[in-house]
């Protein structure tokens, strides 16, 4: 099997398995979780097949024809970066699915749960391996949707629905902007394929010099930030914790939220090396890092603490990927990539531990916990290892990547000079201090201290092995990567960094690398962190106070205001737009007609009214026309229905006289007969409607209506005068055909009738259909009376 097929299969396997999962469930019943685990394992194997070739610098690439008319191929691209993500996604996926076997109660809707998890995994794999940005976007949105479904797994809980809505609205809206960014990128490059762009230096230069550069960058970053909960978009992630804990571990810490980071890494070669990139990406990262780290203090939900920590850790990576100058476009890339891997291990582990704790204590409130180390020592050890790794304590893997973060911050500050030389490292240290504090809080609050047994169940114990092994495995990884970083660095980090920097990368990562400034900073971090931790509760209380006093100073508040307030505003708008009576709608129609009719009159008309007006008519015709207008005026002036109806039928009868004058005997006969019948029907109807309502014409209404109606009259007049100038030369009317052929071909002497039944008989067919419809419609109207009672 060639590697392209392997990767394609790895992407689609979870979808296929999700498709046949309902059938499998019939056989496997409650053990369906192992089916999902096996699927994830197969995907991992398929992805791992590509590792050796990628380590040697040979990327996997290939495509299948899909939508040639849009220039879109189904194409997959496996370089170091995507392989690393693929391994993380499927690897953590195995652990999560296995863990879920025990975590999810057998009474739950397991079929739906695993189906959605598998679909999520497939989407995530598809996203990271996509080379085509449209394809990437499709998988990107699929992860949003599956995430939405999984957050709202408990569909009848209001908080789940709230969290799911929030995540979907923010990530999918961000996605729409990102799509626009991709399209702008396509305008610049003319291709949808990222691999093509990456392999074409001149194209990258074009992008950087293009006038839409900033547009594309900002639009794409909005999508990435929304997905990775950065900047103002962070608010969805804490609420996403309503999902089952394995889902939070999988989606909202280890994989999906890293999609934004992935995207930033993916477009790094295209956009980095510019000031905009540094300001936007690093700026966003640093601000989010500090804000989220600080806000974590007042969280009492253990998953909430982890959510905020995830936001701030993702912001680390964001900041590092943003470190760039023109000469050195990728200062923090290796560090960020390494931290990305490490974060996936320890944060997933922490969530699984949180899941165990919540499962055993039946609460997620940290203020009700404490002293659990005695009841579950193994969990305690696992959790501590992971939390310390997050805090950056040696010899765990988090220490290594945090050192690299400090180093790259120093380097970036140095390259920039000025006040930033100190500000950037200082910000990095401050972020580290916050991280240290909340990491300690996690250990201390749950496991250490005194047991508050009044809130906790009597019998708490270690969970079963199925739930213990996955976090334990991750904890071991945390230690191993920390102690022997070179393996991971060689096989995973270096190819991934190479994929981003588009050149070979060699890293030297070791636990002890001399007494550097970075180490100094780490020591400062620890000291300051411990100092801060002593004030932890004070700060949390202060935050609560401030939040109570200034509730509007929060993005959540703005979100709720918008989402809850929108319907009211919209309803008010609709009430104004759509007042109800038919008259304003008619006025709108007529005004549009007048305005549109006036446009050509102003733009292209040479003379509005043609010169040769012909008032030369016999007097009786003039009198006839005058009578018609008079009768029509009568309809407007006469108040009583009966009079007005008589006036309007007078118009009809007079018009039939005009028809006679215009040599149209058929029309005249029809008009007289129709008018008769119509008048009778009209009279029958108004006999049943007593005239009670009488309109009071105010002066302003009268003036406005007269204005509109005279404008309509004038428009029609101008049009008619122009149109009756005769057929434009050199053309002639098709009527000649009817005159010439009605006897020889249609065998009829009355041309009008011949046209009606023969030349244009099809029109007549339509016309009698309309008559039938009127009959059927009237039947329905009459019958509807009994329905309404």
């Amino acid at each position: 099997m060639d590697l392209f097929t392997a990767i394609t299969l790895a992407v689609f396997l979870p979808f296929i398995m999700a498709g046949i999962l309902p059938a499998a469930e019939k056989v496997l019943k409650n053990r369906i979780g192992w089916y999902a685990t096996a699927t994830a394992f197969l995907s991992l194997l398929l992805v791992a097949l590509a590792v050796p070739s990628v380590v040697n610098g040979e990327n996997v690439q290939g495509s299948v024809a899909w939508l040639p008319s849009l220039g879109i191929e189904m194409s997959f691209y496996g370089d170091g970066l995507s392989i690393m993500f693929g391994l993380i996604v499927s690897g953590i996926g195995i652990l999560i699915m296995a863990y879920s076997n025990e975590y999810m109660s057998k009474r739950e809707d397991l079929s739906r749960y695993y189906r959605q998890l598998l679909m999520f995994m497939g989407s995530m794999l598809g996203m990271v391996f996509s080379s085509n940005i449209i394809q990437l976007f499709i998988f990107w949105e699929l992860t949003s949707i599956t995430s939405f479904m999984l957050i709202g797994y408990w569909r009848n809980r209001p908080m789940s629905v709230y969290g799911a809505t929030k995540s979907l609205l923010i990530t999918a809206s961000g996605g729409i902007f990102m799509l626009a960014g991709f399209l702008v990128l396509n305008i610049i490059t003319g291709t949808f394929d990222i691999a093509t762009v990456l392999q074409n230096e001149s194209m990258i230069e074009t992008i950087k010099g293009h006038e839409f550069f900033l547009f594309a960058l900002v639009l794409i970053l909005i999508g990435a930030a929304a997905k990775s909960a950065q900047g103002p978009f962070y608010i969805w992630l804490p609420n996403a914790m309503e999902a089952p804990t394995p889902v939070s571990a999988f989606l909202h810490s280890a994989t999906m939220v890293k999609a934004g980071i992935y995207l930033v890494a993916r477009i790094h070669p295209i956009f980095s090396g510019t000031d905009a990139w540094f300001i936007l990406v690093s700026g966003l990262g640093i601000i989010t890092m500090l804000a989220a780290g600080f806000l974590a203090f007042r969280q009492t939900d253990i998953k909430g603490i982890l959510a905020y920590s995830t936001i701030s850790q993702l912001a680390y990576m964001m900041a590092m990927y943003g470190y760039t100058t023109y000469q050195y476009p990728g200062i923090g890339v290796a560090a960020a990539t390494f931290h990305l891997l490490n974060h996936a291990t320890f944060k997933a582990c922490l969530f699984l531990v949180a899941g165990i704790v919540a499962h055993e204590t039946a609460t997620r409130d940290i203020t009700k916990m404490g002293g659990l180390r005695k009841d579950m020592p193994v969990t305690f050890i696992i959790g501590s290892i992971a939390a310390l790794a997050m805090a950056g304590v040696p010899p765990l893997n988090g220490f290594l990547s945090k050192e690299m973060f400090y180093e790259s911050s120093l380097e970036m500050g140095h390259l920039l000079g000025g006040p930033l030389e100190y500000l950037i490292p200082a910000a990095a240290v401050l972020g580290g201090v916050f991280t240290f504090a909340y990491s300690i809080r996690f250990i201390d609050g749950i496991f250490l201290g005194k047991r508050r047994s009044e809130h906790l169940p009597k019998h708490m114990h270690e969970p079963s092995l199925i739930m213990l092994v996955p976090p334990a495995f991750l904890a071991v990884l945390v230690i191993l990567i920390g102690l022997f970083p070179s393996v991971a660095v060689h096989y995973i980090i270096e190819p991934a960094a190479a994929g981003i920097l588009l050149q070979e990368v060699h890293l030297h990562v070791s636990l002890w690398h001399g007494f550097t400034t970075a180490l100094m900073m780490t020591i400062i971090t620890f000291i300051a962190g411990i100092a801060l931790y002593t004030k932890y509760d004070t700060i949390a209380a202060w935050q609560d106070r401030m939040n109570a006093r200034y509730p509007w100073f929060s993005i959540n508040y703005a979100y709720d205001r918008i989402v809850n307030g929108a319907p009211g505003k919209s309803a008010a708008f609709a009430a104004v737009m759509q007042p109800g009576p038919v008259k304003p709608y008619l006025v709108a129609l007529l005004l549009l007609f007048l305005v549109l009719g006036a446009i050509p009159a102003m733009l292209v008309a040479t003379t509005l009214v043609p010169a040769d007006l012909n008032f030369n008519v016999p007097p009786y015709e003039g009198i006839l026309l005058g009578l018609i207008v008079l009768a029509a005026l009568g309809t407007a002036i006469l108040r009583k229905y009966l009079h007005a109806v008589i006036a309007v039928s007078a118009v009809g009868y007079l018009i039939s006289l005009v028809f006679i004058y215009l040599q149209a005997p058929d029309l005249a006969m029809t008009q007289i007969l129709v008018e008769t019948l119509f008048t009778i029907i009209f009279l029958l109807v108004i006999l049943k409607i007593p005239q009670t309502f009488r309109e009071n014409l105010t002066r302003s209404v009268l003036a406005r209506d007269l204005l509109i109606s005279s404008a309509v009259g004038i428009t029609v007049l101008v049009l008619l005068l122009n149109a009756t100038q005769g057929i434009a030369s050199p053309f002639e009317s098709i009527s000649y055909y009817f005159i010439e052929n009605s006897v020889p071909l249609a065998r009829g002497h009355n041309m009008v009738n011949v046209i009606l039944v023969d030349f244009r008989g099809y029109d007549t067919l339509g016309e009698i259909v309309v008559l039938c419809l009127a009959g059927l419609g009237v039947y329905n109207l009459i019958k509807s009376r009994s329905d309404s009672k």
Binding site: G580, V685, T692
Partner: protein
Amino acid sequence: MNNTLLSVCIALLFAIGTFMILRRDMIKVVIGITVLSHATNLLIVSTGAFLGGRAPIITSDDAGSPSGIIFTDDLASGILAPVIPEGTEMVFVDPLVQALTLTAIVISLAITAFLLILCYRIYQEHGTTDVSEIRRLKG
């Protein structure tokens, strides 16, 4: 060729009809629609392409020889039919517009009849003929 007075009359009918459909009384609105339909019928007839003197009914006197009019298009050589030889005089009025008007009359009769019954039903349901009171659907 053109008949300005007739055009002015039609335009006036249009203006009056428009004024009527803007009234608040439902029945008056329907009357306005009827006036507009009348005006339209008259307009269609008045746009007849040619105005001979006779109604479009062929009598036995007219049977004559073919007139040499070309009725087949030939886009390649730029012939857009019908092409009329010089000196052909038309004694009839345009029959096509009359046929069209007839169709239009029938259709507007059908719709107006439906509309009238509808008005009656609305009066039964809403108890008013004031269109500005018939506004349960809004917002």
